[in-house]
């Protein structure tokens, strides 16, 4: 398994290189000139050309890419063209917010999906099963921005149970940074009030973000368990007098987990891209809004840096998913 982990980790390098190259080429296909936007309102053509030379935009594409690559290898994402702030610093501030939201949504989706899918399979063709099937179709069809606004209206405006926006209530001091995850850092600091506040803030955005993954995992779990329940070993165990609940929970469920777990890895990428919309609606200060601003202003360095960071996270999440496979199914471990 160690060899597998090392091999997969090394394979991430060419994948990230390809991703960076692709993003770089795509950005240069768009006819945006950051020098023109950077020069300001009334800049002359001479001034725009001066800025182009200053930032190296006048050099050939391979040369620009090579220079950027050298910089990244040295651990420097550079300064934002527009704010002159360190891109690495801004990403470090925002990445934990996105990961905290995405992972919480994934937790909601996985736990909820496995639970609902299992119950739907156990009570196959019952009213509950029909309801779950309806819910999963709806969950996949509903647009996240609409669902987000509905949650805001119901839970924040009408019932006043949960906050409308933000990562912490206005004026509340964030916990001392250890991981950057407010939920974890507040617990580490023993600050339960901040933990409770952070928990209340994350519920609505995480529920919105998890809807699609909840529906997907529910469907995969249900069909996977139904398929497992048809297998001979289940018939044998039932014939041996083992209660149905015990057959399902330790045995059938474990045999059915490979497919939903694969989905978890794949869904993670989708969650990060969906987070762009959810972060905007709930004013969640993550990478999504940073990336949108960078795209709208053609801040190349910032776009490349975010792509690289998200790509890296996605690649490693999928390695973890493969390792979890081997834990759930020892046959997979033998193949690694």
């Amino acid at each position: 398994m160690l060899r597998f982990t090392i091999r997969r980790t090394l394979l991430v390098i060419p994948v990230l290189f390809g991703l960076l190259l692709l993003t770089f080429c795509m950005m240069h296909m768009v006819p945006a000139d950051p020098a023109a936007a950077l020069a300001g309102e009334n800049a002359s053509l001479e001034r725009i050309e001066e800025i182009r030379q200053l930032y190296g935009f006048d050099q050939s594409m391979p040369m620009q890419f090579w220079r950027y690559l050298l910089q990244v290898v040295n651990g420097d994402f550079g300064l934002s063209l527009y704010s002159h702030r360190s891109i690495g610093g801004d990403i470090l501030l925002r990445l934990p917010a996105t990961l905290e939201l995405t992972l919480t949504a994934l937790l909601f989706g996985t736990v909820g999906g496995l639970s609902l899918g299992t119950l739907a399979a156990v009570w196959h063709n019952s009213w509950f099963d029909h309801l779950i099937r309806l819910f999963t179709v709806g969950g996949l069809a509903i647009a996240s921005f609409w669902f987000a606004i509905m949650l805001q209206i119901v839970f924040a405006m009408n019932l006043d149970w949960l906050p409308l926006r933000g990562r912490l209530p206005t004026g509340m001091t964030p916990p001392a940074t250890v991981t950057g995850f407010f939920l974890i850092d507040s617990l580490l600091a023993g600050d339960l009030a901040t933990f409770a506040a952070a928990m209340r803030q994350i519920v609505l955005p995480a529920m919105t973000l998890s809807l699609g993954s909840l529906a997907t995992i529910t469907r995969f779990t249900r069909s996977s368990i139904l398929e497992t329940l048809q297998k001979d070993f289940v018939t044998y165990e039932l014939a041996a007098g083992i209660p149905k609940r015990r057959v399902i929970f330790p045995y059938a469920l474990r045999n059915s987990l490979v497919s939903p777990i694969t989905q978890v890895g794949l869904l993670f990428g989708g969650l990060i891209s969906s987070a762009v919309v959810v972060e905007a609606i709930f004013d969640w200060p993550g990478l999504g809004s940073y990336l949108v601003d960078a795209i709208l202003t053609s801040d190349y360095m910032a776009i490349l840096a975010v792509t690289l960071v998200v790509g890296t996270v996605y690649a490693f999440v999928n390695i973890v998913v493969d390792l979890v496979h081997s834990v759930v199914d020892p046959r997979v471990a033998e193949e690694l």
């Binding site: 934002s80 496995l114 926006r165 206005t170 929970f249 940073y290």
Partner: protein, 528 residues
């Protein structure tokens, strides 16, 4: 036998237990929560846009400042100024007793350093000065005198002076590295003397800026005996969230560009109000005058009469805009009071198109209109033109784009689109900001001059207006230039903006000015 409790139920129970916990009320009721967009970074000499105006007006001071609506330029850090007969030398006398937030006295050396910094960095507001002012042209002969020697006479200079925030030279210099004029440090810090100080401890870029009242501000606080002590500025990106947050009392103020459909909703709600102020922000459709068929005057007149101005303003915008028939905002001097402009008349439009066709203009080809897809009104403007132009046989294709892409395309006539929709905001209050930079062929290649309009008579009038220091004479020159540009139907001028900002009723003393859009907090108090 061990009982299996389904894991999902355990976690659901945990969440259920935690949800009822009420978070403590973190914001005292005396704090003002400002819910608009925040600047990308804090250096006012690098970033220059509408969100930066909020930060700059509150934490920095300028030599002169615009106040009121219509905006009047008034001495701020400066006590007075003089200008030489040749219009080249401008001398400003500073007020005494101004201190920065760190307690250091503000002197002429700080003013000279600030202007030199802008002119050397050549970013943000620099382009308003770089054509006629060099860094060595700014000197401080004594502690209270700043002298500017321009390379050419430039009458709008005074109008542009409020663009430059005065920074604390000593503080910025201690943070300079590799000749960056401290720009890396100032991107996340503040070195001003303004009415509010900035709290670095709670700052989160584009998320939170907390400001605290500066009791030693040189203007004193007699004009507002009950000022806001703490301002908590938060980025609220989505309009729907902004409106809900205002209705819920989470924020006290939205941005000033509320969509008109939300205005009606807010007006019906109690505890909130909508401030409606006519600004100086014009919307227009640019036409590439250098490309057939737009190089034909009859064709441009055809399109100018094919746009349903009244329908757009009264129905789509619900009357929250004012018809502006020419290039200068109608509430600014230099805009001819009797200028009628064009009105919607498809019969006249068709007749003009027929004349253009008879002269060989290729009006049958597909015409592109580019929009900034992030702004709904940009799309709506193009759709209104597209729908009516179709009735007289014109085929208009709407192309979505972004600001960064569009400004790049304007560099050459062959890459400039047939038409595009945009606004011209108030960066400095002078006709030069509109007609001067939009229709003088000297500016070709910049996005502002993207009509590629050329008229030697207009060029000459605008150049003279730039040299002339007598405002009465300048007004006449701009009025004449406006009439010529409108007669040539260079573009389709649509409206002047009414800015709409949602406010809670506890806010008192809100003052709007087109420069800064009412974001200057020192006039505001909170009703307890």
């Amino acid at each position: 036998m061990k009982r299996h409790v389904f894991p999902g139920l355990k976690i659901a129970a945990l969440f259920a237990c935690l949800l009822p916990l009420q978070a403590p009320a973190a914001t005292p009721k005396t704090d003002l929560v400002w819910g608009s967009n925040l600047p990308r970074a804090l250096d006012p000499h690098v970033v220059y846009d509408v969100p930066m105006q909020f930060f700059m007006l509150n934490t920095y001071d300028t030599l002169y400042r615009y106040e009121g609506n219509p905006p009047r330029i008034q001495p701020w850090l400066a006590e007075s100024h003089t200008v030489s007969a040749d219009g080249l030398t401008w001398t400003f006398k500073l007020k005494d007793g101004v201190v920065f937030h760190d307690g250091r006295k503000l002197t002429a050396a700080d003013v000279a350093y600030s202007f030199r910094r802008v002119l050397t960095l050549k970013l943000g507001p620099a382009s308003a000065f770089s054509a006629y002012l060099k860094p060595e042209g700014v000197t401080a002969p004594d502690a209270r005198t700043v002298k500017f020697v321009l390379s050419v006479p430039y009458a709008p200079f005074l109008a542009a002076v409020p663009l430059i925030a005065i920074v604390n030279q000593a503080e910025v210099k201690t943070h300079e590295s590799d000749g960056d004029w401290g720009s890396k440090w100032l991107a996340s810090n503040e070195a001003g003397s303004g009415a509010y100080t900035f709290d670095i401890k709670t700052y989160r870029p584009q998320e939170i800026i907390d400001l605290y009242r500066f009791p030693k501000h040189f203007m004193g606080w007699k004009d507002n005996p009950n000022p806001v002590e703490v301002v908590r500025a938060h980025t609220v990106k989505e309009t729907s969230t902004r409106v809900l947050a205002l209705l819920r009392g989470d924020i006290d103020a939205t941005d000033s560009y509320l969509p008109t459909d939300q205005v009606e909703r807010l007006k019906k709600a109690k505890d909130v109000t909508v401030a409606e102020d006519e600004s100086m922000r014009t919307l227009l459709i640019r036409m590439n005058n250098s490309r057939p068929p737009f190089d034909n005057l009859h064709f441009r007149k055809c399109l100018s009469q094919a746009f349903n101005y009244d329908g757009f303003i009264k129905v789509i915008l619900k009357g929250y805009a004012v018809r502006n028939p020419g290039p200068i905002p109608r509430n600014l001097w230099g805009a001819p009071a009797d200028l009628a402009g064009y009105s919607f008349d498809l019969k006249k439009a068709k007749a003009e198109c027929d004349l253009a066709k008879a002269e060989g203009a290729p009006i049958g080809r597909k015409l592109d209109i580019y929009i900034m897809s992030e702004f709904d009104q940009s799309t709506q403007t193009a759709q209104v033109l597209q729908a009516d132009a179709r009735k007289i046989g014109l085929d208009i294709n709407i192309v979505p784009s972004t600001w960064a892409n569009l400004t790049t395309m304007m560099g050459k006539p062959e890459t400039t689109p047939d038409m595009w929709v945009h606004w011209v905001s108030t960066y400095f209050v002078d006709p030069e900001n509109w007609i001067g930079q939009m229709y003088d062929s000297h500016f070709h290649g910049s996005w502002k001059a993207s009509s590629w309009y050329t008229n030697p008579k207009v060029d000459s009038l605008l150049a003279e207006a730039r040299r002339e220091t007598d405002q009465g004479k300048r007004k006449a020159l701009y009025e004449e230039a406006s009439r010529l540009v409108v007669a040539d139907a260079a573009d389709i001028w649509i409206y002047n903006t009414i800015q709409l900002r949602g406010l809670t009723n506890r806010i008192k003393g809100y003052r709007f000015s087109p420069v800064g859009s009412g974001g200057e907090i020192r006039w505001i108090s909170i009703q307890k």
